[in-house]
């Protein structure tokens, strides 16, 4: 497999699924922002669910595939085009040698994942490759692009604004009116949002006390209250510890949906409990597993049926 970055996208990276067991040294887990989309992208091409993927933001990179391979795109719709053909999301796609993948315009969502069958081993950092001048190569072809006739149901990543949260240690610091505001009033995702955290725009929250807290661990999804009454939601590249009050935490099952919100999008937080959070997570994992099983079955069937042609 040979993948060449023709044009870099500033925020685009090859992502793993999080390093574990190193946070005591201050090393953050990192990993994909939207675990759901990234897992399904892998499932569609028959990879293990946690195979490395390309995480693409807009303005996006352009990628050249030297050799024919099977890919999938799951997550945001950036109007993907391979050579001159539009590619759908949520399907396995066979692409020919010397193909060029680019993204024309963002339509919905914030991040799209590209999975490549067999993984991206040895690809390393997503940096512009010096080795070819693509313009000199032959005309791009739309022949031999095969889009498989099935697609994964990714409706879990809905565009609905509701995001479920669990109360944080310092929830009670919020005055009642601010607690009510937090729970039912829409807030906007700020422009100041990146892989470390998404800032939120809302009327400032008021607290009963401004006592400094002693720094301790934070988590992916932790909602910190800044001293000016504003909030920030910690994302995949969050620091391991922090000292701002933790008013709430986005539940794991809603993190993919939240990660896909773009600046200006509205979200509404709803309080929930551990039991519901676990049920939602189980259901989501089951959904991913089902897609993985069905994909594997369909891919096998398809190759058996077509093997005589090869």
């Amino acid at each position: 497999m040979s993948l060449i970055v023709h044009k870099i996208g500033i925020l685009d990276t090859i992502q793993h699924f999080g390093i574990r067991g190193q946070q005591s040294k201050g090393i953050r887990p990192g990993g994909v922002m939207d675990l759901f989309s990234a897992s399904i992208a892998n499932a569609l091409v028959g990879n293990k669910l946690t195979e490395d993927v390309v995480e693409i933001h807009f303005p996006a990179c352009e990628i050249i595939f030297k050799k024919s391979c099977m890919i999938s795109l799951v997550g945001a719709d950036f109007t993907a085009k391979l050579n001159e053909k539009y590619l759908p999301l949520n399907r396995p796609i066979l692409i020919p040698d010397e193909s060029k993948l680019r993204f024309i315009a963002p339509k919905s969502g914030r991040i799209v994942y590209l999975a490549v069958q067999g993984g991206l081993a040895g690809q390393g950092q997503l940096e512009k490759s010096q080795e070819i001048d693509f313009k000199k190569k032959q005309k791009l072809t739309t022949d031999f692009i095969h889009i498989f006739p099935w697609s994964a149901d990714t409706t879990w990543r809905t565009d609905a604004p509701e995001i479920h949260v669990i109360q944080g240690r310092e929830w009670e610091r919020l005055k009642e009116e601010s607690q009510r505001q937090f729970c039912c009033k829409p807030v906007k995702i700020s422009n100041h949002s990146n892989r470390m955290g998404y800032r939120l725009q809302h009327k400032p929250f008021y607290t009963r006390t401004n006592e400094e807290i002693i720094s301790s661990a934070v988590n992916f999804g932790t909602i910190q209250l800044l001293p000016n009454g504003h909030t920030i939601v910690l994302m995949a590249d969050h620091q391991t510890t922090g000292g701002y009050p933790r008013i709430a935490h986005v539940i794991s099952a809603d993190l993919p949906k939240f990660a896909q919100k773009s600046p200006g999008d509205e979200v509404i937080f709803h309080l929930t409990d551990q039991e519901t959070a676990e049920k939602e997570w189980q259901a989501q994992q089951k959904h991913i597993k089902q897609i993985q099983n069905i994909s594997q079955l369909k891919l096998n069937e398809s190759f058996e049926k077509n093997s005589h042609k090869l």
């Binding site: 574990r20 002693i214 720094s215 301790s216 661990a217 992916f220 800044l226 000292g243 539940i251 551990q274």
Partner: protein
Amino acid sequence: MKSENRSYYEIYALGDSAFTIEFGKDIHPETNDHVIARFKQFQENPIKGIIDLIPAYHTLTLCFDLTQISQPKYGLNTLIEHVKLRLEEPVDIGEISQNLHEIPVVYGGKNGLDIIRVSLEKEIDVNEIIRLHAEPTYRVYMLGFIPGFAYLGELNKVLSMPRKSIPQPIIPGSIGIAGLQTGIYPSISPGGWNIIGHTDFPLLKNDLPILQPGDRVKFIPQNQI
């Protein structure tokens, strides 16, 4: 070596995939000794489903794999019961490293601008701030935030400042204060602490932190403003 069994602790949720055990209310060397001992206990004898441990000043956080834990037959409550049983066992407060690091600091100037704000807000002369900050021998309570960041305590109460409203970009080698904490930023990072000085002291060697929990740090002022 002394064996200790602290009875006080409190457990609280840190989202749906982690919980924190708080062993005290303040920054205290004995509490921190206990945190480090409990960290080692869980590290040496792991519990199924726990995937990360984060020791801090007075807390130890356990991150778990929600997929393993949210199985109907296991569940978070069962996990917490396991943890509570472990906390019943006494732990040895072992030999903790106590290397002394002398760190030269240039206070104030363009890489320590916030010292002026601290001075105005506290109505304390800048030289007095330097004296108070450089006076104690600090303890490294924890590593965290970003690789190589050592949280030091305890800062003189007179210098206790709130964190900034909005995290600002901070350059490597910056010395910050917040609440009763002080620390050194090892790499470029956003941060909310008040930056009062700068050091060239290396904090990472081959990407590994030089300061370790339990170590001692003494700041040596390099100039007067």
